[in-house]
Every structure is written in structure tokens, then in C-alpha cells.
């Protein structure tokens, strides 16, 4: 470290600046020191890692006033008016240590469903794949051989939504009749009783986070009848009913702080306390149906105690006692959450998105406009820095996850974009559209990485496995496709 500094000091005629490293939360790292203007990101990384005193060097990205330092500090400063007298703040962002490779080819097309495939989900460790379809069955697929594993019959109408418990041991599926069934992925049999109670179809399912309860006992369901129900899966009965919405509840999220968020067609988002069902706040502001929501800690809550960096080629079940799992999940959750409270983004039919901090305030932080048609899905990246929104105007827009500032538009699809999924390292994004193609986008370059045609009809559901190896997509042509590198 001293040698590097000495080297820099040996070049006298390059302009020098005082810089101060700062992390995303605003905490200062070390004290200000002198660097030449033409310093490159690699050198900055060396310096920063030394200051952080890490054993393994972390890959870092550096930002000066929201502009990333790509080639050298000098070039980035040219475009901005910076006073060289003051100390310059450089914000460093740790990137994911592992790197997910873009998927390029379709390894198999799994037939079996006799109607359109409506929902697809990988288990939190990426070991199992489940799909729900219009032929009322839920199917489990074996990923190592890419063949069907189990077919679970039990529903009497289309299986609209499926959700894995954070420990990967149970799958909850909701159908158009309002019934919820639980399945065991290792045997393919139904676990417990059928949960009935909703009078209209199920629009969303969300499990209680692992770090709150490692047994994964409670699951919440939202329905068109305007209510949210919390079910106890071991007892097989409805624990609590949360009413308050006047129209269909379109989306549901169980946050990690003990709050439940529900978005509805009555243009509001309601915040409930999970353990006693009391309504905390109503977030108003949208002008039309609220279609979708995303929490900044979504990915951490979904994967629970599984760390994508530790993934192996053959996915394994989670090991360890309940207490260990709980601690691991909690540490991962706190890491993604950062200093402040959870942030929530809601997308609506009024073509705009709102960024909220629901635990603190009922006024939105920002309103994100720009789309020209309704927004179908929003997702935070796994490191919660970027928000991606998929819309029926054939484009995907990227926004900053903290401030809501617009970053870029990804165009390429020729019809409405239905669903998107992030890779576990937050560098790649895959999108499925009504034009039957999937597209993989490189988020850093903000360009198309790969085009994945192959489906014969609209793509309704996609998912990227948490270990980053596979993408699964299902659609109207009744077959499920698995894509790999």
C-alpha cells in the first residue's frame, strides 16, 4: 500500500486531488488522502480494500456524484463541474463476489402440461422447480435430468400462483376457486389439509420470513374478494383475516420487519402488522389499479438462509439446525437491508411507479414516471440498488433503488413485457414477453446480452434459479423451457 502511494507521489506533474471514501449509507472510510487525477478503478480498488482490511479482495464499483468511474477519475470529472479545492467524496459499492453467466441456449423443452403454464418457481436453493398450469395440476421437475418428477393433482381450477417456503420444504399453490394446497417436493404429495376460505381467486401468496420463524409455519394469501388471510399451515386453518380493501387485492408481500404489505385495485397500498393484523398505514397516491409491488429485501427473504455465492453445481438442501438457519437468514437480511428501513416500490395501471418508505412515512419518496402503458411487474435487484419495471409499452425501465431516479430504458421486445427476473449477482436481467421471446439484458452496459427465442406462443412466467445456473420459462404453448449457459 505504501509502495503504491510512493509510486503515485513520484509523478509530479499530474494534478492531484483529495478524496474521501464513503459507503452507500454515508459512513466515511478512513481519512481523506491524495490521489492523482488519472487513477484507475483497479488502483482505487486496491486502496479501498486495504482500508477495509478484508482478507479476500472484494470487487468494488466507484461512483462520483452518481457517475460511475469507468476508465479513470479524471475522465469522469471532466463531465462534471468539480472544485478541486474541496475533498471529493467517492462512494464505493461492493459488487457480488460471484458472477452469474448469461444463459444462451435452451437445454430442454418440457412438455406435460395440457394447458398453458401460468406460474413457475425455483425453490430457494435452486434444487427443485415447480410449475402451475391451467390444467389444474402442479408439476415438479427434476433439474439434473430435466424430466418430469411429480404431478400433483388436487386443485379443481387453474393454478394461479405458487410460492416456496423460505426453507424449500413446502410449496403453497393457490387456484382460481380460492383454495390453497400445500405440497412436499420430495414426495409430490399434499401436506395437510386444503385451505379454503377465500370466496374468489387467489392473486398472491407470501410466506413468513425465515429469520422470524425458521419453521416456516405461516403463509399469507391475497384474493380478488379484497381480503388477506394468514393461514397456519401446521394446524391447517385460517389464523387471521385482514379486511379493509374495497376491491381485489392484487399483490402481497410479507416484509422482514414484521409488516405485511398489500396492494389493491382500489388504488391504495395498505401496511398491516403481521402478528396481530392491525392496519398501520394506507399509502395513497396512485390514480388507477396498483398491479404490483416490490420490497428492497425481496430476494433475501425469498432465499432465506441460502447464500448464492456458496452455490455448487448440484444444488443441495439447506443444512444446519433451525437456529443456525435463522441466524444465517437474519445476517443476510440485515446485509441487504442496510441502514434504513425497507423500501417499497409499487407499479400501477396509471403508468407510474411510487417509491415508498412504508415503515416511516405515508407520503411517497418519489414518483417515477416515463412508461407509456400499464406496468405489469416491478422488481428490486438482489442487492437492492436498482429497480426494474416491465410494462405493456414493450420496454423495461431501470431506476435507482435508493432515490428512484431514472437510469435507462431497455428496448427490444415487440410486444408487452409480462415478467422479469434478476440473476443472483444483480448484473443480468431476463424478461419474458407476449411476443414469445425471452431477452437477457446486461444491466451495467444497459444493453441486450442475449435473445432467447423458442417459445411458440406468449411467455407467461419466468424465473432465474438462485444459484444462477438456470432460467425456466413457461407460457401459452403449454411447454416449460429450461435455459442454461
Amino acid at each position: 500500500m505504501a509502495a503504491a502511494v510512493a509510486e503515485e507521489a513520484a509523478v509530479p506533474d499530474v494534478q492531484r486531488l483529495l478524496v474521501q471514501f464513503q459507503d452507500e449509507g454515508g459512513q466515511l472510510l478512513g481519512s481523506p488522502f491524495d490521489v492523482p487525477v488519472d487513477i484507475t478503478p483497479d488502483r482505487l480498488q486496491l486502496v479501498c480494500n486495504a482500508l477495509l482490511a478484508q482478507e479476500d479482495p472484494l470487487p468494488l464499483a466507484f461512483f462520483v456524484q452518481d457517475a460511475e468511474i469507468v476508465s479513470s477519475l479524471g475522465k469522469t470529472l471532466e463531465s462534471q463541474a468539480v472544485e478541486t479545492e474541496k475533498v471529493l467524496d467517492i462512494i464505493y459499492q461492493p459488487q457480488a463476489v460471484f458472477r452469474v453467466r448469461a444463459v444462451t441456449r435452451c437445454t430442454s423443452s418440457l412438455e406435460g402440461h395440457s394447458e398453458a403454464v401460468i406460474s413457475v418457481a425455483f425453490s430457494p436453493t435452486g434444487k427443485y422447480l415447480a410449475s402451475g398450469s391451467g390444467d389444474t395440476t402442479v408439476r415438479f421437475w427434476d433439474l439434473s435430468t430435466e424430466t418430469p418428477h411429480f404431478t400433483c393433482k388436487g386443485h379443481r381450477h387453474w393454478v394461479l400462483s405458487i410460492s416456496w417456503s423460505p426453507d424449500g420444504k413446502k410449496l403453497a399453490s393457490g387456484c382460481k376457486n380460492g383454495q390453497i394446497l400445500l405440497w412436499d417436493p420430495s414426495t409430490g404429495k399434499q401436506v395437510g389439509r386444503t385451505l379454503t376460505g377465500h370466496s374468489k381467486w387467489i392473486t398472491g401468496l407470501s410466506w413468513e420470513p425465515l429469520h422470524v420463524n425458521p419453521e416456516c409455519r405461516y403463509v399469507a394469501s391475497s384474493s380478488k374478494d379484497g381480503t388477506v388471510r394468514i393461514w397456519d399451515t401446521t394446524a391447517g386453518r385460517c389464523e387471521r383475516i385482514l379486511t379493509g380493501h374495497t376491491q381485489s387485492v392484487t399483490c402481497l408481500r410479507w416484509g422482514g420487519d414484521g409488516l405485511l404489505y398489500s396492494a389493491s385495485q382500489d388504488r391504495t397500498v395498505k401496511v398491516w402488522r403481521a402478528h396481530d393484523g392491525v392496519l398501520c398505514r394506507t399509502l395513497q397516491g396512485h390514480g388507477h389499479w396498483v398491479n404490483t409491488m416490490a420490497l428492497s429485501t425481496d430476494y433475501a427473504l425469498r432465499t432465506g438462509a441460502f447464500e448464492p455465492a456458496e452455490a455448487s453445481v448440484n444444488p443441495q438442501d439447506l443444512q444446519g439446525s433451525l437456529q443456525e438457519l435463522k441466524e444465517r437468514a437474519l445476517s443476510r437480511y440485515n446485509l441487504v437491508r442496510g441502514q434504513g428501513p425497507e423500501r417499497l416500490v409499487s407499479g400501477s395501471d396509471d403508468f407510474t411507479l411510487f417509491l415508498w418508505s412504508p415503515a416511516e412515512d405515508k407520503k411517497p419518496l418519489t414518483r417515477m414516471t416515463g412508461h407509456q402503458a400499464l406496468i405489469n411487474q416491478v422488481l428490486f435487484s438482489p442487492d437492492s440498488r436498482i429497480v426494474a419495471s416491465a410494462s405493456f409499452d414493450k420496454s423495461i425501465k431501470l431506476w435507482d433503488g435508493r432515490t428512484g431516479k431514472y437510469l435507462a430504458s431497455l428496448r427490444g421486445h415487440v410486444a408487452a413485457v409480462y415478467q422479469i427476473a434478476w440473476s443472483a449477482d444483480s448484473r443480468l436481467l431476463v424478461s419474458g414477453s407476449s411476443d414469445s421471446t425471452l431477452k437477457v439484458w446486461d444491466v451495467k452496459a444497459q444493453k441486450l446480452a442475449t435473445d432467447l427465442p423458442g417459445h411458440a406462443d406468449e411467455v407467461y412466467a419466468i424465473d432465474w434459479s438462485p444459484d444462477g445456473q438456470r432460467v425456466a420459462s413457461g407460457g401459452k404453448d403449454k411447454c416449460l423451457r429450461i435455459w442454461r449457459r
Binding site: A116, T292, D451
Partner: protein, 242 residues
């Protein structure tokens, strides 16, 4: 004939003959009895069925046998087919139809247009020019030849760029720009001139419909056949050949 009295008389004499059938059934023996009982049984089954049908007629039956087709995910459920006219079926159907009849057109028989009908002679001095009397398509980069050398005149009033194309399955019509005249059934001369008459196959730009091939490429040109007489109507109506 005293008909009603005849019926009433035995009733007056002997009273109501109740339980006649049961009396008969009890007394019968042998083969006759077997046949009679068989007949009775058939009647009983028939009666039970009619009673059940009548009962069902009064109550409402919930038909939960078959699940309806057209499964859509939750986010599409409350939406009534977003611009359904723009959502067209994809590669498999196209391939199938392409394989079946590549050049199958809708109007197999087309009245051949004679030269005197299509072209009007202009006798000016020595040069023999002929003016096209039907609608034609000339293309973007068209410039007339020098007047001394041009043989065919295509008046600007009869030049069209767009056609109203109907999709046969969706029954929706779009106004699409014409890319070119593929074949005029009357004569190859008319094809080269770009004359559009009823039955002509033209190529139209379908990029706005958003069709995608299975290879991932976007389709931007398709054939359509003209279905009206454009010179009489003032517009070109065509049907897309899927």
C-alpha cells in the same frame, strides 16, 4: 252411444276397483307372471327416471366438471384481452399453413383484364403512349422517365401507398403501407407496371402487428390479396394471406 254412462255404470255397480294391478300381479303364476313382472320392472325404472328429471329441473346444478379453457395468469385475469386485434397467433400456425399451400390464394379465378381496358392509348404525334386507367403502386424512389421515352403513363391520382388489410381470423382491419406488387393475375406486364386490380397479390408491411418467428426474428412483410375493384372505390381492400 252413451259413452260416459257406459264408463260410469260399472263404477256405480261395483265401486272403485282399487289395487287392480296388485291383485292381478299376486294371482298370476308361471311364464305369464315372469313376463308381466319384467314389464312392470321396466315401467318402474322409467318412472323413477322421469321423477328425477323433474326434480333436477327445479334445482340449480353447479357445473363444476370441466375447467374452462384459455388459462391466463393472475395479472391478465381482469383484463379483457389487451388490444386482442394486435395479438396474433405465431410461428407454428404459420408454418403449418405455409407447408399446406404456399401459393393458395383466396380468389382463384380472376377476370383477365384486357389491354384496351387497362391502358388507354394516347396518340400524340409519333409517340405512342398509353395511360393506365387502373390503380397502381409505384414505390418510393419512382421518377418518371424523360417524356420522349416513356411509354406508360401512371397518373398521380391513381397511385396508392396504403391498403386496408383484413386479418381473416381476427376479423380486424389495419391500414398498412404497400411494399410492392407481387403478381397481377392478368399479365406479367401489369405486374412490372405495378397495376393493382381485383385479385392481385401485393406485399404489405406488417411490422406494426408485432409478429415474431420462432427463430426470434420479427416479420415485417406479408402477402395480401386485393378483394375489391380499387379504381371504382378509391381505396384498396385486401385480405392477409396467413
Amino acid at each position: 252411444m252413451l259413452q260416459n254412462e257406459y264408463i260410469e255404470l260399472p263404477r256405480k255397480r261395483y265401486g272403485y276397483q282399487a289395487h287392480e294391478r296388485s291383485k292381478k300381479a299376486k294371482k298370476m303364476i308361471g311364464l305369464k307372471a315372469k313376463l308381466y313382472h319384467k314389464q312392470c320392472r321396466a315401467e318402474k325404472i322409467q318412472m323413477k327416471k322421469t321423477i328425477k328429471m323433474h326434480e333436477k329441473r327445479n334445482t340449480k346444478q353447479k357445473n363444476d366438471e370441466k375447467t374452462p379453457q384459455g388459462a391466463v395468469p393472475a395479472y391478465l385475469l381482469d383484463r379483457e384481452g389487451q388490444s386482442r386485434a394486435k395479438v396474433l397467433s405465431n410461428m407454428i400456425k404459420q408454418k403449418r399453413k405455409e407447408k399446406a399451400g404456399k401459393w393458395e390464394v383466396l380468389l382463384p379465378k380472376v377476370r383477365a383484364q384486357g389491354e384496351t381496358e387497362v391502358l388507354k392509348t394516347e396518340r400524340k404525334k409519333k409517340a405512342r403512349k398509353r395511360m393506365v386507367t387502373k390503380v397502381c403502386f409505384v414505390g418510393d424512389g419512382f421518377t418518371r422517365k424523360p417524356p420522349k421515352y416513356e411509354r406508360f403513363i401512371r397518373p398521380m391520382g391513381l397511385r396508392f401507398k396504403k391498403a386496408h388489410v383484413t386479418h381473416p381470423e381476427l376479423k380486424a382491419t389495419f391500414c398498412l403501407p404497400i411494399l410492392g406488387v407481387k403478381k397481377n393475375r392478368s399479365s406479367p406486364l401489369y405486374t412490372t407496371l405495378g397495376v393493382i386490380t381485383k385479385g392481385t397479390v401485393i406485399e404489405v408491411n406488417v411490422s406494426e402487428l408485432g409478429l415474431v418467428m420462432q427463430g426470434g426474428k420479427v416479420i415485417w412483410g406479408k402477402y395480401a390479396q386485393v378483394t375489391n375493384n380499387p379504381e371504382n372505390d378509391g381505396c384498396i381492400n385486401a385480405v392477409l394471406l396467413v
